[in-house]
Amino acid sequence: MIVRLLLAALAAGLIAGMAMTPAQYLKTIPLIMQAEAYEHGEVPHSHGETENAVAAPAAEATGHGHDHGAEDSMLGFGRFWDTVLANLVAGAGFALMLAAVALLTGIGFPEGRDGVTRGLLLGAAAWFCVQLAPSMSLPPAVPGFPYADLGDRQGWWVIDVVASAIGVWCIAMRPEWLVKALGVVLIVAPHIWGSPVPEDLSSEVPAYIASAYAAASLATTLFFWLLLGGLLGSFLSRVPEEQTA
């Protein structure tokens, strides 16, 4: 049963991750490419490193170069396949974590349409926690944007995702009004505390690209999470309960 549960989650994640690549190439990656053109223009990077793609080999640099030639890609097949791979891994990872939440909080998936519906709701909740909630204070950003310290932002992002997830659980799964209220507090608190904000907000990247990108990121990830949730509900409902290994 354990292996089958894990495989069911993995299958859902790989399918959703696979579907994410065309969605990204339709909506987000063209904007990333456009933004990178501005980034590479001659804007000094906020990290202060020289980012001349031609000069130093990227492997040596401790900073954040963005050289995406085929020769230094992870698989050696270039940027597209790197993204395919990364999306598959991200899909599998998110699917396992979503399945973990369902299993550990006792969310069961009945067979048939009800299981899918419940999966869709779970996916929507995950989209809120992982995408919408953090983006309210830390909007999805294209390259070339002004950045606060990476570690600070990652720390805030993780805290916000976890707090939002616990908050949603409190609101959706617990009957006590006090706990529901605590859930609202958990969701709101990280935003009141505030996310790391860059000191200098000026950017060479046009505002149109930035706003289009934020919307595109939220839209493509909503597609991803709903697909993932629906598939997960459908697949997990087919794993028989009392079966060992």
Partner: protein, 59 residues
């Protein structure tokens, strides 16, 4: 399965769902961390477009 095996495995004590859930949580966290947050240049470059698209803090 009507009969249980003799060994008192973790599964017997806390239930298969919980074990599967914990395993999924650990493996899933590692994968998501690797794609989204790990501070490795190679991982960052490979997952660059994915990180941006998912709204992970990047750069």
């Amino acid at each position: 399965m009507s009969t249980h095996t003799q060994s008192l495995s973790l599964t017997d004590r806390i239930g298969a769902r919980t074990v599967a859930g914990l395993m999924a949580l650990v493996i899933g966290s590692i994968l998501v961390f690797g794609v989204g947050l790990a501070n490795s240049q190679t991982l960052h470059d490979a997952a660059h477009d994915t990180r941006h698209s998912y709204g992970f803090p990047c750069h």
